[in-house]
Structure formats: structure tokens, C-alpha cells
């Protein structure tokens, strides 16, 4: 009996637990990437104990891969040497860690997965507990298989209605970030539910837990259902049977009810993710770069939306338009179905997979005074390069419309044309 996080933690603890309790739990997978693994190796070596279970360790190279400079190359080298030395079986370099974790079947309902990356919350889309931690705790978990957690209170976000054409999960989540604010979910589990969430396919659901990080949440959760099970069975190598946990007579700290049917496309404006406006209020603002990528919105369906809108057209000649597919699986499917060719014909630069421009170290860095509109999840000052640049966050459709004009543009006019 309890909220979804109480149910997940109770199952793992083998007893009924409640918000406020502190638990030491076994973790199912321990994720880290090229930015955070070197520090985890340092902590692990200082602890001086062996790895408890190498099958639980998953390492990725995605933040700056292939290496854009010598220091990044040294980091990668150090990680590869560690993988060799410890004979680690799960080592990936085929895309953004969170997408690869899902695609490769590491994430299943009820699993406890910790990651040295703040967007590890993403795994909640499949009814798993995913939370970001620092590198030292990753090194600790390698040696002990365990991590401490305080069972959080839960904020429930009940979403009803159907979005209008041209309004996507990203617009809804940006709206929620504006409503709750960047510390509105701090230390909380945020449960997303309601008929709107239930109606969404997996690629759209993922946006909510992924961006729950931006409101400070410990985790963002969606209860596993038929959509989840079907996704796991058809799109991942995960082995069932899957146990779909759901809240049972939950006691929520707060409940927000939101009717999505009245929402227009939303934009999170420079310089904060909760500086949210309906798109019409910033329409026409000049943009120097459009970036379609990241763990938030660079899945096949996102790229398909963009390609459909750009097909047979040209992007603004003075705007850089960069597309970074989230994973190689996505890239190959997009290539096979002709989407990459459409994007390139339209004037987009399609890069290799990974985190790309999102972390300001390669793949589309911004100059002073430049403005980007991106499908990313955060817009901190200086994140994509110069501290004097600006980042605006929006849906892939808004990104595509903006790519065509070179200024922030409502996608609905283009979607209507395509519908005719």
C-alpha cells in the first residue's frame, strides 16, 4: 500500500516502507559515463575493495565521444583501461547513456538503477526507480552493490485531456516546469499519471521523468502498463516476466490536476527552465542555432517529426541546424527510412550519436551573443558555450519550424500544411 515509489522500494526492501524512512538497498544497475566515471574509479580505488558484481556495472562513452580534445581522450583511455582490467561486460559507446540503457533492456519495471548523471530519472518512464548520484557513490556501489535512499514524499501530477495538434509531451512538461519551478519537486518523487499519460507511446512518456530532474525531483515515475510491457517486449532485449507495480491507496503530499487540451506550444526561455512562456510570446525571436538532440528529444519519432516538416524545404541559410540522434539504433533506422537524407537535403548537419552540443564541449558550441533553440532539457547560462549566449527549450516540432525561418516559430502552421 502506498505511492509508486513506496511500492517500488517496498518490493526491493522485502517489507512495507513509507516516506521518510532511510533504506540501504541493493541496486540492480550502476550507470556512469565518460564525464563521471574517472572520479568513480578514483573513489573505488581508494576504498580498496573488489567489485561486488561486474554484471551490474554499465559504462558509457557519450558526453564527449569521440574525444574532442586531448584531456577527453585521456579520460576515455583511462575508462577503457579500467574496463579491460576489471573485465567489465557492459561497455557502450553507441549513444546517449539513458537511451542506450532503455534500448539495451537494462531498465525494467521495479528495478533500482542509479546513475552518475542527473537525468538518470529518465528510467522512471518504464516504472523503474532511476536517480542521479555523484561519482563517489557510484564507486561505492561498485564495491558494495548498495546505496542509501530516503523514501521520498510524492507529488502527483494528474494529466487529463488530449493535446492539440502541434503540442507534444515536451510542451506539457515545459509547462509543468514553469508551474512547479526549478525547486518545486526537490527531494520528491514526482508521479505522472492520468488518461493523457496512459494514452502516450513510450517515446513521449520518457520526456516527463527525464525532465523531472529540472524541477529538482529525486525521481519521476510513470506506472508500468500495457504500453510499457509491449515496448519492453518489442523494442528491447529485456527478459520478462515483468512485474508492473502501481500506486495502491497512495497518500500524496500534493496533487496537481492539469488539463492538457488547452495548452499551446511552450518555450522555456533563457536563463531558467522555469522561465516558461507560451510560444506566441517569444515568436519571432532570432535564433542562430537549432539543436535537435539529447536524452530528452532525439528519438526516432522526434527525428521523424522534424524530417516530415523539413521535407522538400530548406532551413534558413544563416541558421545552424544540428541533428544528433540519441543512439545508433535510432540513427540507423532514420537512415534506412530516408530521414537522414531529407534532413541533409534541407541543410541540416547530422552528427554522430551521443550527448552532442548539450554539454557545451563539442558538436555545436555557441558564441557570445548567440541564441539557440533546442530540444534539450536544461538551459543554464553558458551550458552550450559562451556565458553570453542564450538557450531556449522547446519541442522537436517547434525546433523544425524555427529551423525553417531562423526565428522562433509556431509549428502548427507547418503541421496544418502537411495535413492538407
Amino acid at each position: 500500500m502506498g505511492t509508486l515509489i513506496e511500492e517500488i522500494f517496498s518490493r526491493k526492501a522485502g517489507r512495507h516502507v513509507q516516506a521518510g524512512e532511510i533504506l540501504l538497498l541493493d541496486v540492480d544497475y550502476i550507470m556512469s559515463h565518460d564525464n563521471t566515471t574517472p572520479l568513480a574509479i578514483k573513489a573505488f580505488r581508494e576504498i580498496g575493495k573488489p567489485i561486488l558484481d561486474k554484471n551490474r556495472i554499465v559504462l558509457h562513452l557519450d558526453h564527449a565521444y569521440p574525444a574532442p580534445n586531448v584531456l577527453a581522450a585521456e579520460n576515455h583511455k583511462k575508462i577503457i583501461e579500467f574496463v579491460r582490467e576489471q573485465e567489465l561486460p557492459h561497455f557502450h559507446r553507441q549513444g546517449v547513456c539513458h537511451q542506450v540503457m532503455i534500448e539495451e533492456g537494462y531498465i525494467t519495471p521495479g528495478a533500482i538503477v542509479i546513475g552518475a548523471d542527473s537525468h538518470s530519472n529518465t528510467y522512471g518512464a518504464l516504472g523503474a526507480f532511476g536517480a542521479g548520484l555523484g561519482s563517489t557513490e557510484i564507486g561505492v556501489a561498485w564495491a558494495t552493490g548498495k546505496c542509501w535512499f530516503k523514501v521520498p514524499e510524492t507529488i502527483c501530477i494528474e494529466l487529463t485531456g488530449e493535446t492539440q495538434r502541434g503540442v507534444y509531451a515536451k510542451d506539457v512538461m515545459i509547462y509543468i516546469a514553469g508551474l512547479l519551478g526549478m525547486d518545486g519537486g526537490t527531494y520528491r518523487s514526482v508521479e505522472f499519471g492520468g488518461e493523457y499519460i496512459e494514452s502516450l507511446p513510450m517515446h513521449e512518456r520518457i520526456v516527463f521523468p527525464n525532465m523531472s530532474t529540472e524541477i529538482g525531483a529525486k525521481c519521476g515515475l510513470i506506472a508500468a502498463d500495457e504500453v510499457t510491457i509491449n515496448f519492453l517486449e518489442t523494442a528491447t532485449p529485456a527478459k520478462g516476466p515483468f512485474e508492473a507495480l502501481y500506486p495502491v491507496n497512495p497518500r500524496y503530499e500534493r496533487v496537481f490536476e492539469i488539463d492538457v487540451s488547452t495548452l499551446a506550444p511552450q518555450v522555456a526561455c533563457h536563463p531558467d527552465v522555469d522561465h516558461v512562456k507560451p510560444l506566441e510570446q517569444v515568436e519571432g525571436l532570432e535564433v542562430n542555432e537549432v539543436y535537435i538532440g539529447t536524452c530528452t528529444n532525439a528519438r526516432y519519432e522526434d527525428i521523424e517529426i522534424v524530417a516530415n516538416m523539413l521535407k522538400g524545404k530548406k532551413v534558413n541559410p544563416l541558421t545552424r541546424v544540428i541533428v544528433t540522434p540519441a543512439s545508433e539504433r535510432i540513427y540507423k533506422k532514420a537512415m534506412k527510412n530516408g530521414l537522414i537524407e531529407i534532413l541533409m537535403d534541407a541543410g541540416c548537419t547530422v552528427t554522430g550519436t551521443g550527448c552532442g552540443a548539450c554539454i557545451g564541449r563539442h558538436g555545436g558550441i555557441l558564441a557570445a551573443g548567440e541564441r539557440a533553440l533546442t530540444t534539450m532539457n536544461r538551459n543554464f547560462i553558458g551550458r552550450m558555450g559562451s556565458p553570453l549566449s542564450e538557450i531556449y527549450l522547446a519541442s522537436p516540432a517547434t525546433a523544425a519550424a524555427t529551423a525553417l525561418t531562423g526565428h522562433i516559430t509556431d509549428p502548427r502552421q507547418y503541421l496544418m500544411q502537411n495535413a492538407e
Binding site: A43, N69, D117, L133, G139, V140, W148, T186, I381
Partner: protein, 168 residues
Amino acid sequence: MGKAWTFGENMNTDEIIPGRFNITIDPLELAKNVFCEVKPEYAKNVQPGDVIVGGQNFGCGSSREHAPIAIKGSQAKCIIAPSYARIFFRNAINIGLPILECPEAVADIDEGSEVDVNLTTGQITNVTKGSIYQARALPDFVLKIADAGGIVNFLKEHDIEELMQNAE
């Protein structure tokens, strides 16, 4: 006793140490660029024993441990803030960077104030104004990690299960 360096609300990890500097894990190297965009004079002028006074949700954003490491590397004695983002809170405790929760002290301390912090008792003295505050007590198991100087040091001497023994 040290000087207070004040920062605003929602100070994020990109502002503490921008991503482009996270190519090293050397605390002293990281400290050279800590707060470089929000308060460039900090890295140049900070003295051992100075105190960071932050706003609510201090350390929000990425999971990068480089942020508390950069602050620790700058030889600041501790952070005082009304609240911390959750990953930053864990990271600071885990690496042995003392953090105190005390909204009243934060409201009272100005940039450059002389501040004395007793890390054992959690007593914060604003020497400039002559006022005294008590930081909120940390949970027992967190104190065990803090007392050991971080989780790595704790695990050199103990099993992880001992964290939870007699914990509240």
C-alpha cells in the same frame, strides 16, 4: 574565522563550475575556475577558512561532483544555505565538504561579513553583527559519513551496513 562569499538562489552546478572545465578531477585545478562566471573574483581572492553563503536549492542541476570538489579545492571551510539540491547534498557529504542548513543565518550574513562556524556543534556566528545561529542537525548516518571525512574514508574502516546501525 573567515569571510563570507554570498550567492543567489538556485545556484546551479554549471555556474559553480562550467562543463568545459570538467576535464580534470584535480581539486586545485577545478578551484581555479570555481564560480568563474557568477563571481570571478572568488577564485582569485578566497582564503582558507572563508565561508560560502548560498541561497535556496544550492547546487541544482547536474550530478557533477566536480562542483563540490571545486569548492572544497578552493579551501572554503563550508557552505551555509537554506536548502540544497539533492545530488549536491549527497555529493558534498560524500566527499567531506561540510554543508550547513540555516536559513536564518543566510538572511543575516552579508557579502564580506566575518563568520565563525563551529562544525562540531553547527553554531554559526556572524562576527560582524554579533549574532549567533544554530544550523539544523543532520541525520545520524549522514553524520557518520561526515565525521569520517567522506564516504570513501568511512568504507576504509567500516562495512556499508554499519551506516544504518542505530540510525534514526
